[in-house]
């Protein structure tokens, strides 16, 4: 167990250091999400009171698209110089690689979300009517839901032709309940109509189930050849 934690930590440190030096994923995500925010504002009047109803969906669509950019890059890095092959033959636990990668992606996407939320507030004139602190569990659980399955599926799509295209095609259908929960919970907090307790529970259940499945199956997928 200590070895799992130690290898996970060193994988995570490596990913964070690489990202800190290049800032590839975070920059790409930030600019991409910004473009989505601007383009969406053409579709409706962003400052109208009714747009509060749809901003929850919009925020998550922007972050989902941005996350795809980061998730696609995550494993590509390991393909250069056959790092992934070296990892396959090493005695390090496969789940440590997966957890390190997933935690790294979670961190990068959370940073992007934290930087972009103020922008949404400014551009869409947002004032949460409900208790704003409830957005914290929604964002943490929601981001993990996207990241854990996304990191796993990115490892799958790595083995296919046209890798970048494949990831959203397999990730979006499976993520539908999580996306629905994030959008509904965010909208409820923003409009203050109801309490998002059910949706937060659903996100928690989704996270627990799929994190378990990812950890059970990652070694099989890593060694599939």
């Amino acid at each position: 167990m200590t070895s799992l934690a130690a290898v996970t930590a060193s994988n995570l440190r490596k990913d964070v250091r690489l990202e800190w030096r290049s800032k590839d994923a975070v920059n790409a995500m930030l600019f991409f999400a910004l473009l989505v925010v601007v383009i969406f504002s053409f579709a409706f009047d962003p400052t109208a009171e009714e747009s509060r109803q749809i901003v929850g969906g919009l925020v998550w669509v922007a972050f989902l698209f941005a996350a795809i950019v980061a998730l696609n890059q995550a494993w590509m890095r390991e393909l250069r110089n056959q790092v992934l092959d070296a990892y396959r033959v090493s005695p390090a636990p496969a789940n440590a690689l997966f957890l390190g990668k997933a935690l790294g992606n979670f961190l990068f996407i959370s940073v992007v979300e934290a930087l972009l939320m103020p922008l949404f507030v400014v551009f869409y004139n947002l004032r949460p009517v409900g208790p704003a602190w409830q957005l914290v569990p929604v964002f943490l659980l929601g981001t993990w839901a996207l990241v854990v399955v996304g990191t796993f599926f990115a490892a799958i799509s790595l083995r296919t032709r046209s890798r970048e295209v494949m990831l959203p095609l397999i990730l979006f259908p499976i993520s539908i309940p999580a996306l629905l929960a994030m959008v509904e919970a965010t909208t409820m907090v923003l409009t203050g109509t109801e309490t998002p307790r059910f949706w937060i529970t659903l996100l928690l259940v989704y996270d627990v189930i799929f994190t378990t499945v990812c950890l059970l199956l990652f070694e099989t997928v890593l060694h599939a050849e």
Partner: protein, 231 residues
């Protein structure tokens, strides 16, 4: 021989089920003949769900035993399941338009079926785009994710829809069905199951042949490579 027997049984069942659905079952009081689409819609749905369940089991067996026959069975059931699920999604709106007045509503069952269809289409796309020996393993992993996702999808969408007013409700479809109507539903289900089994059989044999062909190609390539080394 067994295949021909199944083919004949399927033909007979489909014919009798057609008679049951079109003539033997009574005309529905309010909806009229349009209700007869129900005899195709519901059995198709049951058949497709069973196909997806079979796909889930076959995927687990493949991951546990690495048996390529299980993989061939998984592909066949997923493809046939998608076909029947498509039938459900096409016959549903055909019935809904005259009865509900709209083609589609984002109701729990409709949306879940649509998401189910999306998940298995993405499974088939992964199989199509992935190359090499890893395909069965990757596809089996995705199949497990997909199947586990279905109850979560259903729960979430049901909650989502009970939060909002339902646009149209045509009463419980299964409630208080006439015995003749039940006969029509069950005969059609039997016929569709036989038809699905037939299709899965054909597809399974095709997949096994394809696997053998791949293997033969690989062996030939290895043989040629060895030949060029010794020369």
């Amino acid at each position: 021989m067994k295949f021909k027997i199944l083919a004949v049984i399927t033909f007979l069942l489909l014919s009798y089920a057609l008679y049951q659905g079109m003539w033997a079952a009574p005309r529905e009081a309010t909806m009229g003949d349009i209700q007869r689409i129900f005899y195709y819609h519901v059995p198709s749905a049951w058949t497709s769900f069973l196909c997806f369940f079979a796909n889930f089991i076959a995927s687990i067996i493949y991951l546990a035993r690495r048996n390529l026959k299980a993989d061939a069975f998984a592909v066949s059931t997923a493809e046939v399941g998608v076909v029947f699920c498509t039938v459900v999604l096409v016959t549903g709106p055909l019935w809904a338009r005259p009865v509900w007045g709209i083609w589609w509503t984002w109701d729990a069952r409709l949306t879940t079926t649509l998401v189910l269809w999306l998940i298995y289409v993405s499974y088939l796309m992964l199989r199509r785009y992935s190359t090499g020996q890893a395909t069965p393993t990757l596809a089996a992993a995705l199949a497990i994710f997909g199947f586990l996702d279905v109850p979560i999808v259903y729960m979430s969408i049901r909650w989502w829809r009970t939060q909002h007013p339902q646009p149209v409700i045509a009463g419980g479809q299964g409630s208080g069905l006439d015995p003749h109507m039940w006969a029509a539903v069950l005969w059609n289900w039997a016929a569709f199951m036989a038809f699905a089994a037939l299709l899965i059989w054909v597809r399974y044999r095709l997949e096994i042949t394809r696997q053998q062909l791949d293997e033969a190609h690989a062996l030939k390539a290895v043989g040629q490579a060895e030949g060029s080394f010794t020369r």
